[in-house]
């Protein structure tokens, strides 16, 4: 049997190797072992993100400084949920291109395309809601501008991670320790 490594492998730096090891660390595997647990992790991440953005928007709109503490308190569980999703996807969106193989690159392209489609719908919904609020509800569009922009930006930033977390398939059985 011969080793037939790729030129892509040769391009990996120590940073890539370290990141690859972190993203493929199986310590937290029970947290994302089943589709139900992965859905729960993504749902928790969406909820924590929404709560953080809502706290930030509340602080901005109502001038309530103590909401900053709420945001700070949400950071730790948000980071934990992010780690669970990254573990489930094996760093699909965190690793550099030359640290991924052909299947992962194809998967990443699929995830980004789907996330782009969902973000487009979300932007369309935001435009419709703001326009409706302005025309029918006498809402000052200017007041909503910053919170809505922040919410849409965060959704655009994190949508690929949520889609990737939901798209993960179960681990193939018969692990390597068998051989």
């Amino acid at each position: 049997m011969t080793t037939t490594g790729t030129t892509e492998q040769a391009r990996r730096t120590r940073y890539d190797e370290r990141m690859f090891a972190i993203m493929n660390d199986r310590t937290a595997a029970p947290l994302y072992a089943t589709a139900a647990r992965r859905r729960a992790a993504v749902a928790a991440h969406v909820a924590l993100t929404a709560a953080t953005v809502a706290a930030g928007a509340g602080m901005y709109v109502t001038d309530t400084p103590w909401l900053a503490y709420v945001m700070l308190a949400l950071v730790a569980p948000w980071c934990l949920a992010t780690g669970v999703i990254n573990g489930a996807t094996r760093g699909l969106l965190e690793l550099r291109t030359h640290a991924l193989d052909e299947r992962q690159l194809a998967e990443r392209d699929r995830v980004r395309a789907q996330a782009h489609r969902l973000t487009t719908y979300l932007l369309a919904a935001a435009v419709v809601c703001i326009a409706a609020g302005k025309w029918f509800g006498h809402v000052q569009a200017g007041t909503l501008l910053v919170p809505v922009l922040v919410a849409v930006f965060v959704a655009h930033w994190l949508m690929p991670m949520w889609v990737a977390g939901l798209a993960v398939r179960d681990e193939p059985t018969e692990e390597q320790e068998e051989l």
Partner: protein
């Protein structure tokens, strides 16, 4: 044209006592990708298929086929389909 590429990877890998991890490292793929190929959930590129075949010192058609493989016992003992 068939979209499914059939393979004997799991069988050959078990026969040669090679782990998914070892094969993946040798051919520059993720070990999950080897599992997905074995389960028929991912069709490898020609490049990857050739690298896997080269690793096992086998012709690529011994591992991958557009048609289902005959059971090995049939091939060895010559039973006709």
């Amino acid at each position: 044209m068939s979209e499914q590429v059939h393979n004997r990877l799991a069988m050959v890998r078990a026969e040669r006592k090679v782990s998914r991890q070892a094969l993946a490292e040798a051919v520059g793929a993720h070990y999950q990708t080897i599992g997905y190929i074995e389960r028929g959930q991912y069709n490898p590129s020609l490049d990857l298929a050739l690298r896997i075949a080269e690793f096992f010192d086998l012709p690529v058609e011994a591992l991958f086929s557009l048609r289902p493989f005959r059971p090995l016992t049939d091939e060895v003992y010559g039973r006709k389909q």
